[in-house]
């Protein structure tokens, strides 16, 4: 039941309990209770809009920053990652495999904003040994959604 509810929440956002219940053949109470539990357990962290900022007046840019760091005995990169994650400019932080240790997504008003954040805050952080910044120039797909026009529907109006 959790998996089915999560599928709807992640695809369509916070629909009404009654709507989810009808779709899944559950009672409204069951849905409310399950979602309540998942929120309390921090399985569900929140509900957000997916926005194509390039279509708005709002200046907003993102960059992927590969961070190399020195691991700590017994804690690995946890303390470093949690430290970096506390900055408001940081959108997400992942421990990753590959050449770098952490993949940090940073957002800012413009490229300069982000570059200064990296130079003044991120790179000098104790435990960070190197950074490599890639600015996002254009987004084609975001969180499972295509950014362009939705493909047109070619179906006939009536078919066998």
């Amino acid at each position: 039941m959790r998996e089915k509810i999560l599928r709807i929440l992640t695809e369509e956002g916070r629909l009404a309990d009654a709507e989810i219940a009808e779709r899944l053949g559950l009672t409204t109470e069951e849905v409310a209770e399950t979602i309540g539990e998942m929120e309390a357990d921090r399985v569900v962290l929140g509900y957000r809009a997916l926005v194509d900022w390039s279509k708005t007046e709002v200046e907003r840019v993102f960059a992927y920053i590969l961070v190399e760091g020195s691991p700590e005995h017994g804690a690995g990169f946890d303390r470093l990652a949690e430290h970096i994650a506390r900055f408001d400019e940081v959108h997400s932080v992942h421990l990753t495999s590959g050449s770098a240790d952490l993949n940090v997504v940073v957002e800012g008003r413009d490229f300069r904003d982000i570059a200064l954040f990296v130079a003044e805050k991120l790179a000098p952080t104790s435990g960070v040994t190197g950074t490599s910044t890639s600015f996002v120039l254009k987004t084609y797909k975001l969180e499972g959604r295509l950014m362009g026009e939705t493909p047109s529907n070619h179906r006939l109006a009536v078919s066998p």
Binding site: E22, P151, A157, S159, P160
Partner: protein, 399 residues
Amino acid sequence: MSVEQQTDRISRLARDLRPSGIREFFDLVVGMDDVISLGVGEPDFPTPWRACDAVIESLRHGATSYTSNRGMLDLRVEIADYLLARFGVDYDPEEQILVTVGASEAVDLAMRVLLDPGDEFLVTDPSYVSYAPCVEMAHARAVAVRTRLEDEFRIKAGPLADACSERTRGLLFCNPSNPTGAVMRREHLEGVAEVARDRDLLVISDEIYAELTYEGTHCCFPTLPGMYERTLLLNGFSKADAMTGWRVGYACGPADVIEAMTRIHAYTTMCVPIMGQIAAIEALRHGEDDRARMVAEYDQRRRVFVNGLNRIGLDCFVPMGAFYAFPSIRSTGLTSQQFAKSLLADQRVAVVPGDAFGEAGQGHVRCSYASSISDLREALARMEAFLARLSAGEVTIEQ
């Protein structure tokens, strides 16, 4: 040239062949704006990109030729593996599988190889629009086996046996059903199998909607005791893999029937276009998650739509398969045609009159729920408004 001269050169068979009731209705809808169509017998999902990508890549490598008449061996092997793993039925890809232009071509081929002039073939009523015409095009007689709302449109052994004569060669039915969405589980199919054994029928089991079975598992007809030898199993990629336009289906069954069908197919069609076959191979190899995702979505829509129909006063049994609901419209006092045409004119919602699928469909309309939930809710709101206006005498009844 006069109309008379023109009709003279058309064969009696072709002259007598009526266009499908669905096509007639299609002509009414064309050109109307703002129509929400529940008349569509195909998925609203595009073909999963993996399959499209496989075809684009194959074109780059020059895969544009004919294939074996039976279909690419790679595809037949994948079909055999899939049917065995998914439904527990085992076919030899070399001799028992023919890839066809949709399951539709397989119905036509089957009738041509099974029927002699004057023979009879049983077809459920209501049923998919091409079944009876395919029997008639083979110069045989389609005999209706009526199914009833009280039985949720499942075939019952009694009426099935009653419809048999000495000329009856077999039975053609679709499970899960287009147009009703009804599902026959193993216990329902056993009665059909018994009659098939007693009357020596060849059964054509069209299981194109097998993957779209909700709340339980699909029972593949040839897995019933004694049925493997007398079943022609039809399936394809149009519905579960959202590949209607690619036109790929298949028939599996006794080697003699498949061989005879292949001979005709080789003359009339040569082979299914290679692009569709390549897409189908990809769908079988990697399409499981895509199928599951789409089925889960249809299942949600099914609940929302069927609940909605019952709430607004159109009684509808809960369909357990395909993506159709088949509500009764008897409470309105209208015929299926009047209901569908008036609803279209008054509220711009297209549904298909139930009698387009046979006399037993009278008093019903077929609604496809292969549309977004927001469209389904809007359609329900319009239908509710239609029913209110109808009982207030404000609707012009279209004939």
